[in-house]
Subunit: 340 residues, 2 copies
DNA sequence: TATAAATTCGAAAACGTTTGCGTATTTTCT
DNA sequence: AGAAAATACGCAAACGTTTTCGAATTTATA
């Protein structure tokens, strides 16, 4: 009983042909106003709901968009999805959400699930492990509109949304230096992904600008595991040549840094100043409050969705243009980077 | 070109009937091993992927589960979905995720979208505004398996997953009192939803046990708006009869409380002790670190998924039993409730 | 060796839509 | 009034699967 009445049965009830009922429900010009009324009210009365799969099969589209993110417990990604949803929902689209947990193998599996047309398009941010991208290439080759944000894949010619990673990291590092940091360090999850490269470039540019010689071991690649990261950072903070400033390219590394500093009795910001990419609403409530670079996550989601909706709903749309759209981030200065 | 080759075309390529190919792909006993090999390898070669909508139409099931939550930017809900996904993904199910933003009207719209069988089942946590539940009743009447967690709807006879709200709040309040709070207050989002009632009951029981007379204005109903909540709490913390302890039934109210305390120069924990339901990983990094009641979110998600998968995959399963499954929460004591 | 049984496959219907085309009726025009 | 055009609707095919039923071939049994 889970599937209700069908269009055929509705038509039988009305003594009309299924084609007529279909057209009436779709408000076709070929159907008279009176018949439309009749059909509509009977449909209402019998609680008719069109079967989405029959429709998808016939029309070869699913009214569904897939979203793939590396982690769910992350304010940034949650905000992006919120942004996507606000737009797509207005147009009757549904969201399939998948999480890779930063695991490229899981990413491949998920992507292969989408080769069959279950979704009309894909919005994604690749995992930090993703360097080989042939699974993404296959998606694109198949003609499926795919759109990247934040962790983009530059090899695929499509639209990508990012923030001004280079510029904002440059400014953030300047701030760090200006507040007294002589030996800033850069924390990252992986050397491969797009944003890390750009952010690292901005970081190095600021050092060069300030004529600070960069110690390569201060460009630290961390991992997925929380406790391991804390260990790595304890070691870093305790080394013979300790950094006195941290730029964390992702939120979780800043938090690991807080943990490590606590255990090593390193005072923030006195001994160590920290600034981090993060969209946490409660950065201001941390101890000490965390200076952040926050991305316009919601806007990113909305812009992604808008461009996608346009592509999917207007007829004869060209492929998504191969361009990188940049939405600027914002630095919010808090206690963690304040000079003494 | 987005949709690849069809089963028919694949069959033609093999000089076989579509039915044979279908059976071969589904590993039917009626097909010889050699033919299976032939079919499989040709399918691989031609990159065949079965059309999910044709299959859904034929089999009357979508291999899709809908998840409805009140907010995405919330560690608890994110963890629950992670838990659900780990189980459902193993069985080839996809997740449609919807967010109501605590808006019952949006909840109704989303629910009505699911009346057409797009999803095989629903896992949800109702919005804080939800008191009239006839939209949920309609879903259940239609025979769609529906399953609640955390914010449950007791009127619908199905399985619900919650934590030991009463007991754990009782213990949490005891802790608050034991640490010296003479006038504890209880913060909630709505009086209507299930968890609030249970948690409030546990709170009051602890007061009674300690022979503390409860001032009704200390049972504070807050709202969705962050800044309004901060105002409400500033007023509360500044009133003639101020509370010296807070039990926040949801995370966001504890955070608003931190904000309010900051602005009113109320010291935590000296002047005000705070304990809150929260699954934030960084509760320990707040200033001061926050004592939390954390729910087994991931387990809740997994258990939801397991029971659902069983119902959906085994033949002739009975309806989901009308019972409430309780998974215990855990109190983690931190600085925000420490006695001086 | 004749027959029963097992094995392997094909033809066709069905799931619930949408849509191209045909047709009957009504309206409009000359 | 007759022809042309507009209106309103029905028939049937198609989308890509799965599955029932039947049939053909091969193997085993008596």
């Amino acid at each position: 009983m889970v599937s209700g009445i069908s269009l055929k049965e509705l038509a039988a009830e009305l003594n009309l042909a299924p084609s007529t009922v279909s057209r009436a429900l779709n408000d076709s010009y070929e159907i008279s106003a009176v018949t439309k009324k009749r059909v509509l009210s009977m449909a209402e009365k019998l609680n008719y709901h069109p079967n989405p799969f029959a429709r998808s099969l016939r029309e070869n589209k699913s009214k569904t968009i897939a979203v793939i993110i590396p982690e769910r417990i992350n304010t940034f990604f949650a905000q992006v999805i919120d942004g996507i949803e606000t737009i797509t929902q207005e147009h009757g689209y549904h969201l399939l959400v998948y999480c890779t947990h930063e695991d490229v193998e899981k990413e491949k599996k998920i992507v292969s699930l989408l080769l069959n047309g279950r979704a009309d398009a894909i919005v994604m941010s690749v995992s930090s492990q993703t360097s080989d991208i042939c699974h993404l290439q296959r998606l694109h080759d198949r003609g499926l509109p795919i759109l990247f944000f934040d962790r983009i894949c530059s090899e695929i010619p499509t639209t990508k949304f990012i923030t001004n990673d280079y510029q904002i990291t440059l400014e953030a590092t300047r701030h760090l230096i200006q507040q007294g940091s002589k030996r800033p360090a850069f924390l990252m999850l992986s050397e491969d992904i797009s944003i890390t490269k750009e952010r690292h470039r901005g970081f190095l540019a600021a050092l060069k600008e300030a004529r600070i010689e960069h110690n390569p071991i201060f460009s630290k690649v961390c991992c997925q595991n929380e406790t391991t990261n804390v260990e790595i950072l304890r070691e870093l903070l305790n080394g013979p040549n300790k950094p006195d400033g941290i730029l964390a390219s992702v939120e979780k590394l800043a938090l690991a840094c807080y943990q490590a500093a606590k255990k090593e009795n390193v005072r923030i910001p006195e001994d160590l100043k920290i600034i981090s990419f993060s969209n946490m609403g409660i950065a201001g409530l941390l101890n000490p409050s965390l200076t952040t670079i926050s991305q316009p996550a919601c806007s990113i989601g909305e812009e992604c969705a808008k461009i996608l909706i346009k592509k999917l709903t207007k007829p004869n749309q060209p492929d998504l243009p191969n361009e990188v759209v940049i939405l600027p981030s914002k630095i919010t200065i808090r206690a963690s980077t304040l000079a003494e």
